[in-house]
């Protein structure tokens, strides 16, 4: 099925855009915004609003329509399956792994945002979903924030971690990519990669990105603890980790 945006008629291709151009506010600037938007593939482009942000910058609100479409059937989403709940995870561990598993988590690098990893790990959890610390079959260690990669690996080894959870919230100038990459490289250098399930998470982290960076999975906004827990235990089982 070919799809494109919908304003008020199927396939009208209507899209709202807003952006700033580094030019002074004038009729020419408006025209530039129209030309620019057309170059992006839009037609019937209307600059419905523009105003100066300074002598050198102008902000535009633009509506346009486009013929560009994509085939929805060909969209593949590597979505992490959200199969088990709190009870399901614990039973799965009892049944298939037959021992408590160890999960170590942290918000790593210079990132100081603990709330996300806390939501996943802390006892009280998040939005009425218990965190991993409450899972009887999981031994969960939350190292907190601003944990250097070396230290995280050291701790994981010390605690005999089956899985490592890394949270990355700050993404400005791609700092999270650097940090996540460095972590995987270190882990591989120490020959530990295959011995652990490694997941990344954060509001700007997708499963796709995580896989590209060499992680087993990535978890974005709105993740619940049981989502990552199910993933870990099923992955461990799949890999025959006991």
């Amino acid at each position: 099925m070919m799809i494109r945006p919908y304003g008020d008629t199927l396939n009208d291709g209507a899209v709202q855009l807003s952006f700033t151009l580094p030019v002074a506010h004038c009729a020419k600037a408006d025209e530039a915004a129209i030309i620019y938007t057309k170059k992006l593939g839009f037609k019937e482009v209307e600059v419905v609003h523009s105003n100066p942000l300074s002598d050198e910058f102008t902000f535009f609100v633009v509506y346009g329509k486009t013929d560009i479409s994509i085939d929805y059937d060909k969209v593949v989403v590597e979505e992490v399956e959200k199969s088990l709940d709190f009870y399901g995870v614990n039973n799965f561990i009892k049944e298939h792994i037959e021992r408590k598993i160890v999960v170590v988590g942290a918000c790593s690098g210079t990132d100081a945002h603990t709330v996300g990893i806390d939501a996943i790990m802390n006892m009280k959890g998040f939005d009425q979903h218990y965190g991993l610390e409450r899972y009887p079959m999981i031994e969960a260690y939350n190292l907190g924030a601003q944990i250097p990669n070396e230290e995280l690996i050291k701790k994981a080894v010390e605690l005999k971690a089956d899985a490592i959870l890394i949270s990355q919230i700050v993404t400005q100038k791609e700092v999270h990519i650097q940090n996540l990459t460095e972590f995987i490289e270190l882990l591989e250098a120490e020959g530990l990669r295959s011995k652990m399930v490694v997941c990344a998470g954060g509001p700007r982290i997708g499963n796709k990105l995580a896989l590209e960076l060499g992680y087993d999975a990535g978890f974005g906004r709105g993740t619940y603890p049981e989502n990552v827990a199910s993933f870990i235990v099923e992955k461990m089982h799949e890999r025959g980790m006991k």
């Binding site: 919908y6 304003g7 008020d8 008629t9 199927l10 209507a14 709202q16 209307e46 600059v47 419905v48 609003h49 105003n51 609100v61 509506y63």
Partner: protein
Amino acid sequence: MTKSKLNLDTNKIAKARELSKQISAPVQEYIEKNTTVAIERTTLRMMGADGVDSNGVPIPNKVVDQIGDNLCYGATKYYINALLKKGLSPEELNIEIGNGLDITKLDFVDFSFIEDKAQELVEIFASKVKANVAFREEKVHKYKEKENSPLLYLIVATGNIYEDVKQAQAAAKQGADIIAVIRTTGQSLLDFVPYGPTTEGFGGTYATQENFKIMRKALDETGDEIGKYIRLVNYCSGLCMPEIAVMGALERLDMMLNDSMYGILFRDINMYRTFVDQKFSRMINSFAGIVINSGEDNYLTTSDAVEKAYTVTASQFINERFAYESGLPAKLMGLGHAFEMNPDIKNGFLLEMAQAQMASEIFPEAPLKYMPPTKYMTGDIFKGLAMNTLFNFIAKSTNQGILLLGMLTEAIHTPFMQDRFLGVANAKYVLNNIADFSDDIEYKKDGIMQTRAKVVLDETIEFLEEINKTNLFNAIEGKMFAEVSRPKNGGKGLEGVAEKAEDYYNPFYTYLENELNIVKGN
């Protein structure tokens, strides 16, 4: 209603009501003496006249054309006579008429047969409408607790009834309580109602009985799915006020745009025609339990909302009076007003709040219809969203009844599906977040808001006094409303007015007058 915040002088309010009564009196006198092509077509529809001929001319129009100058006797007897004479059902008769039968050419049966048949048809009509009223009441009662307060009102306006259905169902699922299908540009100037489902229109969709039916069904389905009674709105303004009203009554619409003077002022429809038509349309709405929406917001699209605030209040009083004269109870009076002040005014919020609160205190039982900013909306959708947020704030904190949701793209296009969603989301956020704010504050004595309300009320009374002095017809001609002059014999549709003959016959009109306890000549 909670206790007064504005501390308005109740004697002044009573005074304004008394003036409106005086203003409406000569108009009522005129109304009682006249009928119109629209009223007769309406009566024909009540009896079952419907459909179109091969040229697309609606049967009611054909009949009225046939009757010509004899309209002063009312169309009823001709149609019933034809039914009896031909021994046909209305459906069958409509086909015959469509095929060329001129019913005025038939000999008359004895009038007592006509009266008996009329009795029967009135009852059929009345029972259909009563069944609709009962159905609505049951559903509203059943699903009461899911309704928002104020009710959230969204428009759809694609021009295509089937697209409208999609948009309307989506809107209902997003949280709308009311869906209005906006009419196509210019329909108010048509002196007939188009027929059947329609898929083309500019800026809106034709109001046709079939379109009403299609949308009603769709909303009932969605309503049952989500556990809510979704109200449906259309427009009975223009040259077909009562005709569309009766279609709405039959198809169970729940609200109708229906102002006593809108057509005159904003569509240049003749004033006599409008006044006569509006009464019958309101009687029908009243009988069908349909909430009317008056159009005071329109004043502010051309006049300044601060300067001319009193015209809104005055029009509310006049609309109220005309509504009472049509037997319409306060609880069906969706009197209109709007948030249309220039957003750059210092303390504009206070002036808007005073105005909205004033309407709410003066018309405590009326489900006031509050219109969002439109005139000062620009392509700056972010500013627009902020204005809508404050508008929703005032709507909730002054206990409005019907909240027309502002669209962030108001200055750009008729709403996209997402625009509507953003409108609902914004309203729901604000309504819930400030739920009891109104109860938690008081207005400062003689503060900006109290003073503003007092001034506007005074100006309103002064204005009503002037109108009363010249009389309403002259006032309209004299440009006292909306900064336009409408000559008494100008505008569209005057030719459709006919003075009733001594023996004018309209058992439907009479039935409604009795049902609604309308006292004549008061």
